[in-house]
Symmetry: C2
Amino acid sequence: MTLADELRIALDGKWRHVRDDARHTLPGLDLAFDHDLDLEAARQRTFDQLRLLIPTGIPAAGFRTAQGGTGDPGMAVTGIEMLAQFDLSLMVKAGVQWGLFGGAVANLGTARHDALIPRIIDLSLVGCFAMTETGHGSDVQSLETTATYDPATQEFVVHSPTPSARKQYIGNAARHATMAAVFAQLVTRGQSHGVHCFLVPIRDENGDDLPGVTTSDDGYKGGLRGVDNGRLVFDQVRIPRENLLNRYGSVDEGGAYSSPIENVNKRFFTMLGTLIRGRVSVGGSAAAAAEVALSIAGRYALKRRQFTGGDGSEVLLADYRVHQRRLLPLIARAYAYRFAQNQLVARMDRMQTTDDPDPLQQRELESRAAGLKAVLTWHASQAIQEARELCGGAGYLAENRISTLRGDIDVFTTFEGDNHVLLQLVAKELLTAYAHEVGGLNPLGMVRFVATTVADEVRERTAASQLIQRLIDARPGDHDLLDRGTQLELFEDREQHVIETAARRLQKAAKADAAEAFRVFNNAQDHVIRCGRVHIDRIVLEAFTAGIARCEDADAADLLRQVCHLYALSVIEEDLAWFMGHNRLSDQRAKAVTSLVNRQLEVLRPHLLTLIEGFGIPESTLGAQILLD
Amino acid sequence: MTLADELRIALDGKWRHVRDDARHTLPGLDLAFDHDLDLEAARQRTFDQLRLLIPTGIPAAGFRTAQGGTGDPGMAVTGIEMLAQFDLSLMVKAGVQWGLFGGAVANLGTARHDALIPRIIDLSLVGCFAMTETGHGSDVQSLETTATYDPATQEFVVHSPTPSARKQYIGNAARHATMAAVFAQLVTRGQSHGVHCFLVPIRDENGDDLPGVTTSDDGYKGGLRGVDNGRLVFDQVRIPRENLLNRYGSVDEGGAYSSPIENVNKRFFTMLGTLIRGRVSVGGSAAAAAEVALSIAGRYALKRRQFTGGDGSEVLLADYRVHQRRLLPLIARAYAYRFAQNQLVARMDRMQTTDDPDPLQQRELESRAAGLKAVLTWHASQAIQEARELCGGAGYLAENRISTLRGDIDVFTTFEGDNHVLLQLVAKELLTAYAHEVGGLNPLGMVRFVATTVADEVRERTAASQLIQRLIDARPGDHDLLDRGTQLELFEDREQHVIETAARRLQKAAKADAAEAFRVFNNAQDHVIRCGRVHIDRIVLEAFTAGIARCEDADAADLLRQVCHLYALSVIEEDLAWFMGHNRLSDQRAKAVTSLVNRQLEVLRPHLLTLIEGFGIPESTLGAQILLD
């Protein structure tokens, strides 16, 4: 076993067998994006590729055995991440079909919908996930589409009452879906019960729109050419009563509404919570795409030379300080995020295979999935962009892959929840101490419900695991910044301070009128979002630390410790003004941070190839011509 | 005249008539990018569009009257910037033909080449600019292509001796160019005289490669689909002696070399210096593209609502603090950079229409063009990216334009000089006090020649104009951060300190051996590049200040002062750790910076539409469907 093998094992995590299978099987399936295809042909190719995935078992893994699946949610998410190494259009289209559409049926439906699952797995039923509307994306609770129950025929009437009620950006909607999982306000007996999900057939076997349904095409996008995003408009479309996915809300034949969850907000967020896998997959896939780009740029830096150095020969790009400064901290982040993502997937898997999950843990998991989705997709955009620039003009040519990844990844920062909104959601959960009553992201809700006990809550919530606490307790008195306990304490302390001060700002308006409350919230909005960000930073450092503790190879663990130092130091360096301004770092220690980052670059430079190989992406999968020349 | 008109006049600068003509004429020419075209059709369309530009006078403006042009370099650059508002493929293709290829002939050639200029203007001769090679991009002095003089036939033999000598990424080379301006090592009588430029016919009238020339196609890229980038390989291609563009180096019939410039480095940089217009155009065009994206995102923020606010109705995106924080500082930068760019263009125009330009001013201009190109293209990438995200999913659809701009702009940060390399070039000029002997970007050159007098030089070079000095002298004692003199002094002081400390680091190795000298340079490389960055920041703030002083409308000047405050404060905020760590800002003043940025957001929010209108881009030119819905 080489050191790179040991790193790969550490990074592969619990579903290593899935990754190894995928490394073995997927390269044979010809999944690389083909730029020569026009829009329709590219979509068809991606659709055809979906069929090739069925025998891998990845599609079935996401569904319970009772439904016809194999009940391995961790495998489902890991499998999707592996697809992202090959083509993001394929990853998205697979995610739409099996994750979003299939996930809605599996998690929001009841036994009467289970018969659909095998047909979803084998693609005899192709669907789409019709949530976002032209007028409302982030604010899902305000969707305008209605599904009104008609007891006379025992049907729901699905309708788009306004132009802004049009379903928009829906993957699979422009061409391939024959059914839509439509999120709409459920109305019965003249009363609205909030957003629920309904199965609405949209196309016949010829691909023509069914009566009352108007589909249209979003056409060209910044990337993801293989995904047919489109729009749906409903004109009084009638569907059987049974097409309500009725796990969290039912309407009986006579039109009486019932739900196991009384509170409308709690019901809505419980429904959304079951769809967590979408965000988990998006974050993980984005991180995987970043690893591809960093692998290409890293390998290129080890073969490309420019300008003469001290010994008269041309210098490798990887030996320039500024090149190292641009590349290595991103690689360190990629390692950090993979450990955090693996931890998230494992917790999600545990939660989704438990009969009676703890509701607080469930909400913490949802919050973590939202926050990691935001941080990992921004990281991916940044890393792929930097990788492009690190390869110069070569990075811009499609034959070297990175520019295609860049176009494809771009939407990840705003789909499955806009990143800023998601971090605000994380902050809301932290600041309101997971109060179930708090509705959506209505700013006023956050102000009204901000916990008066938030300081205690924060301390309790950031209470570290034994391992972390031991490291913190053992930190040296001299605040050595290369000590893990010191780093952990800095991250934890920053989080507590940022959250407590945000809470205090909001609490001032708890009794103010609505206009003043909004003003207070809005003035603090950047502070609120920062709560989410620093919370995730802390979680990531702890996950990295835990991952190192699990690594069984001493040399690999040593190297991971150095990578983790670079991660922690580069996060501190980015926020240095805060640490200085809040007397967490003296001017002198603050200046040392930059020197320490540079020191870590020198420590890690000899291991650059090993670190790249640790990502476990075969050079052939990278698909970059510059690495072959 | 509205306030927006007055802002537009201030931003339009000296070539306002060119901008007004373009606003009037270009919309009628159908220049918008068409996504439905395949690669070849897109290239052909862009090529056909070039012809439509001839009557605008923009192509002829870049050439001297004696050569058949109209001798208005400022108009040439401004005209290209206006094209960038419509389509960046068109801007690049025009820039390649008339700016790079035409510019090489006009500025490196002599009277015997002037006959080509009218044919270049009217497109009867289409060319390409063949500088970059597969093996050498940033390090142009190390190009491998050779042009060896054969006195027997009075020809140069142009040859690609290695695979890495292949010309690469050359615009117009894949399809439309019939001639290439090839940069190659001039060899005569067995001696190399460094890189010179040669005219090499590459295709016949049928578009077939001429004997010895092998063209190939770079194919798909991250954007710029209308530009046919390609590669050129030469196998002992013979061209007449007269095809050497011989302004800075000639070979007589017998093979004797002569040049008006003795020093080979000085000669090379003088040649490159005449090609300054390429970088000026790239920076200006990138800034123009950023203005388009910011106009779209800004106008969208003024119509899109999401989530309920204090009065029970949904809140405009533009009214959210975080949305303002993301959008308004970028608009302030766009204003700042336009003033800096206008100043650059005016200086370039003056220099290029003067018979005997001052060499030091010439090098300062080149350095400034390089630095502004870097800063403006990074700004463009960042602003267009943020604009995309500020529009959510809509920003990703091609019909809303921004994602196309994003793909097109991406290469601007690395073409016409990689931005990091350009900032290093700026630093080199500053640190070596414009010593003519310093060759290229060889790290050792910088260490050897770093001026021992750099501190004095820096103080002299940053010596402010009367206006700036008056503001600095009049700054209040309490260091009010909303005082322009205080801001100017902070920028100037930071630049002096960063340059002086970088110089001291490098001077330590002035007498070291090559290996140690490289090590010292490399350890300081990020510091060196930072010299270039903070230098440009100071130049931009001074240009903004000067632009406000020239604004004749009192209300517009007042508003511009507020925009300039936001620019200055956001630059300070970005580098807050430095200002704190170097005791330029106390902890207390540092904390005030963020509050002051937020204050400026509140001051400017009511003027958002006015500020966008000030960019002077008609809504129809923006070409974004979301603004029409």
